[in-house]
Amino acid sequence: MAMKKEHPVGDSKPEKEKGLNRRDFVKSGVAAGLGAGGALLEPSKAQAQVPPAGVASADWHYEVDVVIAGGGCAGLTAAIRARDLGASVLVVDQNFDVGGRMLHSGAWVSFGGGDPVQLRDMKGESDSEGFITVDPLENPEELDDNIELLFTDITDWSVVDPKGQNPYRYNERELVRAWAENCPATRQFMMDNYVRFTRVTGTHGGGGLSRARAARCFLMLGDKTDIKAGTITAEDAGVADFERTSPFAPVQMNDASRSVGPNAVMNGVALSRSLEFSAREKGVEFMLHRSFDAIVREEPFVGRTQGITAHYSPRHHPETGELLQSFWQNGNIDERRETVNIRARQAVILASGGHAGNPEVRSMFYPALREPAFPTSGNALQGSQGQDASALIAGMRVGANLAGMQQNLSYSTTFHISTRLGTRDAYTSMMPGHPTFGFRGSAGVNVGSAGFEEFIAVNQVGKRFFSEVRLPARPGLNAYPGDRGAPGRGLEHKPLDWRNCRKEWVREMYNYDHGLDAALAMNEGSEAPDYYSGPLWAIFDQDAVERTGWELHYPYVSDNGYFFQADTIEELASKIVAGHEFQRVPLSYLAETVANWNSYVDAGVDPEFEREADAPMSRIATPPFYALSIMVIWHDSYGGLRVNGRQQVVDTQGEVIPGLYAGGEAVGGFNKHGLGKGHVHGYIAGTHAVEEPSI
């Protein structure tokens, strides 16, 4: 891959490696076919991805009823479900700890269809443990839901979104039907596995507009961290010190006093650790540091699924070099062989996430985002093999079809420009104290959209490319409460009528912001064959710091190549070139750009991008001068393996691949943001996997 160095933090790099491009890698033999998806893999690891054609019986290293690739929201749910139904279950995960992206999520779990927390809140009841002491946040008519309404609500392409391309219209209806029918049961299942849900409030993006369906997951602050009791210490929750996170909770937990009561905290930690605790208690086994490579089928495109192969993918502490360990150890299998073959007597469930972390595979959706300067969200937490398209790649090799390949383009969170500046990992919140903080080196400064009024943004050659004020804009999400289809909040939602929108909305929807495309546009520094657009920089001066109060100190920024400070613009430009891993060319125009900008400020007119129309403009003239990285985030993955309503992977002939299931971001054809999709997929897959004959 074309980055300057493997280990960005505090590591110097010989000058000759700068600007290494894809052709160089092809020559050196690293990029071998699809396996190079693993642009992020070392050569030996890439070779480990070659599928074994028919593993002989003696070659199996492990054997279980159900093997699951990936321990995130879909995989962990599937594991517990299959275990509950009597199967032996092994979860293989490339990371050192369990939880995938669920662990650093906000735990917005949007189900509906008349699920148990909707019913609880309609009655005004507390939770079974009596933790919830606040009244319901939604009125009963906003919670009065059913499966038919939930189904039509996210298959109609009614309520057209501002991008003029409502993702629902492309959903596989069978998938959505199965999802809707399993939402209430999955909510109950999670509650039966220690997950505590707050009051329902609104929906999460893509959860449908006609009813309130989302609840978050909480724990209560207490003297000890005890999942059974529902308590967590302030230190573990990360609320004791805002500049530290704990090994238990990579991101700080949020105040849940409004949706639960005093001393309640919420986020993905409350969700992920609760499910993990239950899984381990029930006897699910985990093989961590192990990256799933390939599906073993009787014949390459024919016959039953027999198992998987997976390679050792150890993650070491960035400072001490020690092998990273999961927070809980019970149920772990410490296996360090380079490659192991794991036989599945009944089924393989692919829940290893999407493709957002694999620039090579990303290019099939948006070629400009082959640019490796921009990683996926939470890459420090997950490591280079997180979201690496492993399920998509392995599925294609056994004949799986793909679905929803255009849906990445129709959801505004998929790729966007982060308001968190000065860190490579700009979509998560690890602080010192969690072992993966060192992989990012800085937490970044979240300036919010308003902060973009305080600087100019330049590309890799130092030129402005868009109105900074509009750069982080994202079109609105489909979410309740909206003004287009909620009870008592405006337009009445009519199921099975695609025209559920205002005429004005249809006109407005074409007027969305293209800042991200401008950020990825070719510029004078883009060179063949990849024509990378390069990194982006926020340039400002000391006066901007005075205006905003931005905290430009550790742990928010550090000397990790994503933050620079200098007394002159020229010095700033050279520091960026010397210190940033993806700055392949000089910022030749930066000094001229700043001088031009100051003349625009003096004249009160920005002839390039008309910024005076949106916000006041300020000179960049008081040293020291600063540069913070601006990151394009590829967050969600839409588009992936084609599955049916039982989460069985389907091949290009429309035939089920026997014994192969998939869920969460590994699958396509179902555009719904976040956890609500993954948990239900896991629940469905776990249910049906154990119905497979044992072979």
């Binding site: 999520s105 805002f242 849940a256 006093s257 959209s449 308003a450």
Partner: protein
């Protein structure tokens, strides 16, 4: 020019038959009214006068604007949950009234002598006006406000009140302190901030906090913005909050 002279002058012209001079003055009055409307009123009623019913009533096409005395009294004294604007001069109130009665879908014309008399009676109650820099909050109130803010506002407006949510899954929101907040809110009163906030926030469940919590949260916002503490707390009362203007640091 004192505000009384100014107001009287404008009133005199408005009640005269439409001579060329009067028409010219009325145009300038309406332009002034539009500018003031955008600063003081549009935060709730919108630039287009459509408001956001039922929380913020539409002014465009609103028949209640036909009664100009009612309009003038409402602006000056407040009405229901609409905050009062005691800091506006008679001329300023009249300019706003003239503007909103004769723009968008409205065509209610000038005002009558009786209406002016009634309006002037109302305008006499104007009192002294202070600033957020006068020590209008206490430390204890701001501390209570921080707790309330953390539960009700922090998830969207961020721990630093800069509009950057802590959860990266959430969109940015308007900052509630420092330079950007001041730029937007400068010139408005705390009554406008209080009524706007409790009528519209939290966005998914407006008016779900107690009035005391809303005013405590405002005290916390002012503290983060660097405004000094004093001896008395802000009271959740629009009439008294209207006497405190959000102004640049003196």
């Amino acid at each position: 020019m004192s505000k009384l002279v100014s107001g009287a002058l404008s009133l005199a012209f408005l009640v005269l038959p439409m001579s060329a001079v009067a028409q010219q003055l009325e145009v300038s009055l309406i332009e002034q009214g539009e500018e003031l409307y955008r600063k003081q009123c549009a935060v709730c009623h919108q630039d287009s006068g459509v408001g956001n019913p039922p929380t913020f009533p539409a002014l465009s096409g609103n028949d209640q604007l036909e009664d100009s005395g009612r309009v003038i009294r409402s602006i000056h004294l407040g009405r229901g949950r609409m905050p009062p604007f005691p800091n506006l001069t008679a001329e300023e109130v009249l300019s706003i009234a003239s503007y909103i009665r004769n723009t968008w879908a409205n065509d209610f014309g000038g005002v009558t002598t009786e209406e002016v008399t009634a309006a002037r009676e109302g305008l006499d109650s104007s009192g002294p006006v202070g600033s957020v820099w006068d020590g209008v909050i206490t430390e204890a109130q701001a501390t209570r406000g921080q707790v309330a803010y953390s539960g009700a506002c922090g998830s969207c407006h961020g721990r630093r009140l800069n509009g950057a949510p802590d959860d990266p899954d959430m969109r940015s929101t308007p900052p509630l302190a420092r330079a950007r907040f001041m730029r937007i809110w400068e010139g408005r009163s705390l009554a406008t901030l209080f009524e706007y906030t409790r009528a519209s926030m939290p966005e998914d469940n407006p008016d779900s906090l107690g009035d005391q919590e809303y005013v405590d949260i405002i005290a916390y916002m002012l503290t983060v913005g660097g405004m000094p503490n004093g001896d008395t707390e802000l009271s959740p009362d629009s009439q008294s909050l209207a006497q405190i203007l959000i102004q640049p640091e003196p």
